[in-house]
């Protein structure tokens, strides 16, 4: 894996997240979950999964972990918990969303689900 290579992806896609979420909600969609996932090239994929007329639909886009993305919590109140979870577990930045829903500052590892920051097992290995 070449660390210095700049991954090629649509760098503007994340800006329309609010717009696309609003469209989805107006069309009768219900936000189920926000899934964040790290790619090997260092980009993060965000998946906003919706339930619309008994089917799954999603909004996806790629971001770099340092970027700040817009919050959809004012469009959809339930999204705040989901966003806080992403902020906590992946160390991402979402506008106006504080960390600390699950992790305890100073005790828990920072951004535990990020690949490069995966906690090194102390002593024996899991399993």
């Amino acid at each position: 894996m070449n660390e210095t290579a700049v991954p090629d992806f649509d760098r503007e896609a994340h800006r329309s997240v609010r717009e696309r979420t609003r469209e989805m909600i107006e069309a009768g969609g219900r936000l189920i979950a926000i899934v964040a996932r790290e790619n090997d090239d260092g980009t993060m994929e965000m998946i906003y999964a919706f339930d619309r007329e008994q089917r799954m639909e999603d909004i996806r886009f790629l971001i770099l972990p340092e970027w700040e993305i817009d919050s959809v919590a004012d469009l959809y109140k339930g999204a705040l918990t989901l966003e806080r979870e992403v902020v906590d577990l992946f160390g991402l930045h979402i506008k106006g969303v504080p960390p600390g829903i699950f992790l305890v500052e100073g005790k828990s590892p920072v951004a535990p689900l990020r690949k490069r920051k995966a906690p090194a097992p102390e002593g024996d290995v899991h399993g």
Partner: protein, 150 residues
């Protein structure tokens, strides 16, 4: 043994605290308190107040956020007290061993008197632990009594 200790051994009051368990053992603790297994016939009542408790039933591996709470509750419980770690998680931390937000078994944080195995631990095993615990508790009470007399 003082009279009050004798009486206390006949009505050990329980406090249950979940330090991060999957709820499996908590269910069994509640099954213990309800009609089928009913430990109230031995005088045990569930009290959510540590100041009134004699026996602490702790379920689950200790998570980082619960650590201080658990210590706090333990310190608030008056002597002589008994700590029972219910289930595999509370005993050793497995299967959440090495999970990033878990400290391990209850004994990493507070001293434990009895370990109940099982995932989830069965109510029968818990009753056994309570009975064993009471004899241990009597010993403890006798010990503290001696210390008090100097």
């Amino acid at each position: 043994m003082a009279l009050e200790d004798k009486m206390r051994a006949r009505s050990p009051w329980i406090m249950h605290f979940d330090t991060g368990s999957c709820n499996g053992c908590d269910l069994e603790v509640w099954a213990l308190l309800t009609p089928r297994y009913d430990v109230e016939r031995f005088g045990a009542i569930n009290r959510a107040n540590p100041k009134q408790a004699d026996i602490l039933l702790i379920t689950g591996p200790v998570t980082k956020r619960c650590e201080d709470r658990l210590r706090n509750l333990y310190e608030q419980t008056p002597e002589p007290k008994l700590v029972i770690a219910c289930g595999n998680c509370a005993s050793t931390g497995a299967p959440f061993h090495n999970c990033y937000n878990v400290d391990g078994g209850v004994d990493k944080v507070i001293p434990v008197d009895l370990y109940v195995p099982g995932c989830a631990c069965r109510p029968e095993a818990l009753i056994d632990a309570l009975v064993l615990g009471l004899s241990k508790w009597r010993e403890k009470a006798a010990g503290t009594d001696k210390e008090d007399k100097g």
